[in-house]
């Protein structure tokens, strides 16, 4: 079987001592930072990205993937123990996870999250390995018109499925696309919007924007709120293993969560957040068994299902990135940035031109998931200790890591000034209620979209109908239109708003 040959190649790459160490360090660092409340995977990856510059590309990507899972897992730990979601995708884990912790069942809750995630991770990895090659074949058929339409679907999907105001999200995407265009135009050599600043002719560093908006913006906003009294369940975590009864409830929930997450992760704009929300909603709709704890009061299914779903989703959201080169969400947009730094142009050609990287990354995802379980369940005590560190110790350290990280990207102080500007802008976004994730997606896609649009129009000699006369492109655009129309329907609009407000 080809699948097994490929996986064997991947495991051969991933199972070298060096790469195992990098996967381990990635998971460890990711969890370490992800546990800290208020720092999501985006800020974590942006902060730790510079640590991978010196590594060979394969090792760097393996480590980054580890950081991503670690950050996500750390977020769940915080959700369960402190009633604070470490990141958006563990918002629903908070509801039942924290209630379990209050009843002295933090251990089983953490185990449910860990084991559920691990199972989902295994399935997600297999799906990725199975679906990547055929999808790549399809992708190779794509012309510029198809790519352009695909990006439209991706961007529309990202806002439709995200929370908050639809029109503001669209505006944020456009803003991101425009910011992405700053710098030298590849076709004409004209430096656009650079105001004669030499550093700006290379474009605005995406890392400076990510760190400014997601790092500094968040910190400033956190500091402006009075420090809430947090109840941390330290020392109460005994008896990690769930009971037999728990397992009986957990298993079907994990299976449902995994299935949902895997499917939703592939969708543009999907990934971890949407998967977790949907999985929780689904669990709530299923009937409670007699004697089972109701949802919202510490039902183990309310932890297991969304955690499985978000891990499966984060796994399968690599599929569009690795096969089409299009990031389906903001975390993957950062991964594109990371790959470009290592001179890898993500897209269908990676699998053929760089099979070791491709399959090594996939294999290391599974290893990363395994490491998380091994790392987290015994080390839970350390993470709890970390949660008791007061915020006034944490935020100067975060500011420092952001500053060091952004400087070391280009060894240029200009980027430090840019982070400060984008820190201010990020805070402004928070104040004005503008969700910043779509901006990052637009930022990465901006130059690509322009390039494909130009090529498509050049081939068609200026005829815009090329996007609707080519069947593949037309159907992609139709999907985007349907998505938009569907969310704008009054009944669904109301439901969508409810889904993200409640819970």
């Amino acid at each position: 079987m080809e699948l097994f040959d490929n996986l064997a190649l991947g495991f051969g790459v991933a199972f070298t001592f060096q790469n195992l160490i990098y996967a381990f360090v990635g998971c460890l660092l990711g969890t370490l930072i992800g546990v800290l409340p208020g720092i999501g995977p985006l800020a974590t990856i942006a902060m730790l990205l510079p640590a991978t510059y010196g590594l060979p590309p394969v090792a760097a990507l393996i480590m980054l993937a580890g950081i991503y899972y670690g950050a996500q897992y750390g977020g769940s730990t915080t959700a369960i123990l402190v009633n604070l979601p470490g990141e958006a995708s563990s918002v629903v884990t908070v509801i039942d996870g924290y209630q379990m912790a209050r009843k002295g069942r933090a251990g089983p809750a953490l185990a449910a999250a860990g084991l559920g995630s691990f199972f989902a991770g295994c399935v997600g990895t297999l799906i990725l390995a199975a679906f990547a090659p055929p999808l790549t074949e399809v992708a190779l058929e794509f012309g510029p018109a198809e790519y352009f339409s695909l990006m439209i679907v991706g961007l529309i999907g990202a806002v439709v499925l995200a929370s908050g105001s639809l029109i503001k999200a669209l505006a944020m995407i456009l803003l991101g696309l425009l910011l992405g265009l700053v710098g030298t135009d590849v076709n004409s050599g004209v430096a656009r919007y650079s105001f004669d600043i030499p550093e700006l002719t290379d474009g605005i560093s995406f890392l400076a924007i990510a760190m400014g908006v997601f790092g500094y913006g968040e910190i400033i906003s956190n500091l402006s709120r009075p420090e809430e009294h947090r109840e941390v369940f330290t020392g109460k975590v005994e008896g990690i293993m769930p009971t037999k009864e728990d397992f009986k409830n957990m298993v079907p929930a994990v299976l449902r969560g995994t299935a949902l997450g895997s499917a939703l992760g592939i969708l543009p704009g999907g990934g971890a957040l949407l998967s977790a929300f949907t999985a929780y909603t689904l669990e709530k709709k299923t009937k409670l068994k007699p004697g089972e704890v109701p949802f919202g009061q510490g039902n183990i299914r309310g932890v297991a299902a969304p955690e499985a779903a978000n891990n499966a989703g984060s796994q399968t959201s690599f599929i569009p990135l690795l096969t089409l080169g299009i990031p389906p969400n903001a975390v993957m947009a950062l991964m594109v940035g990371a790959m470009t730094i290592h001179n890898i142009q993500p897209g269908p050609q990676v699998m053929t031109s760089n099979p070791e990287l491709f399959w090594g990354l996939i294999a290391s995802m599974w290893i990363g998931n395994l490491m998380l379980v091994v790392l987290n369940l015994p080390l839970i005590g350390i993470w709890i200790k970390l949660l008791t560190v007061p915020y006034r110790w944490l935020f100067p350290a975060i500011v420092l890591f952001c500053a060091i990280g952004v400087y070391s990207t280009n060894n240029n102080s200009f980027d430090i000034w840019m982070v400060a500007i984008f820190g201010f802008i990020g805070y402004l976004f928070i104040k004005l209620g503008c969700e910043p994730a779509p901006l990052l997606l637009g930022l990465i896609l901006g130059p690509m979209m322009e390039e494909y649009l130009r090529r498509a129009m050049l081939i068609s000699r200026g005829d815009w109908s090329v996007f609707v006369t080519r069947p593949l492109s037309a159907s992609l655009l139709a999907v985007a239109a349907v998505l938009l129309v569907v969310v704008l329907l009054p009944s669904i609009k109301k439901k969508r708003e409810e889904a993200f407000v409640e819970d």
């Binding site: 400033i220 100067p396 060091i404 201010f424």
Partner: protein, 162 residues
């Protein structure tokens, strides 16, 4: 007329202004035509689109919003100022400002400055604990970034190393 959402009102204005300026800037470059797009074509399109969306958001802010007017609220000037100032001080001290002849002081000095300034973002910071934190971070960064990852930094002040 009362605003239903102050946040939307101002964010709409922001989008319109930014979109408008990008579109205006785009006209400085060759716009070209569909078949041969100049560097101004795509940004002009996007800029106009953004300005339109911004106008819609502003217009909607009179009708649609949350009860209570969805106020923007006061700016947290204290953390805003100190966090950004800490960052700027770090940059200035790390590599210096050659344009005004300010010498590079290197990583260690920059870290102390950053931690002290950033700590002031929260009221009631203590000098001693801030000093301990700065020392830990300076030692840790030296070990991790300079020694372990061998990233290129000026570590010590320029007048000491030359």
């Amino acid at each position: 007329m009362a605003l239903a959402s102050q946040k939307d009102f101002f964010s709409g204005l922001m989008f319109t202004a930014v979109g408008g300026s990008f579109a205006l800037g785009a006209t400085e470059y060759t716009v070209g035509e569909g078949a041969r797009m100049g560097p101004g074509y795509f940004p002009l399109m996007l800029g106009i689109l953004l300005a339109i969306l911004g106008t819609i958001i502003t217009a909607q802010s009179f009708i649609k919003g949350h009860p209570g007017g969805d106020k923007v609220g006061a700016f947290a000037w204290r953390p805003l100022f100190f966090i950004l100032a800490a960052n700027l001080a770090f940059g200035a001290l790390l590599v210096g400002l050659p344009s005004i002849g300010f010498p590079a002081m290197g990583l260690i000095v920059a870290i102390y400055a950053l931690v002290f300034i950033a700590s002031m973002a929260q009221p009631g910071c203590k000098l001693k604990s801030t000093f301990i934190l700065a020392t830990i971070l300076a030692a840790g960064s030296y070990g991790a970034f300079v020694k372990l990852l061998s990233l290129q930094f000026p570590v010590w002040p320029a007048f000491l190393t030359n």
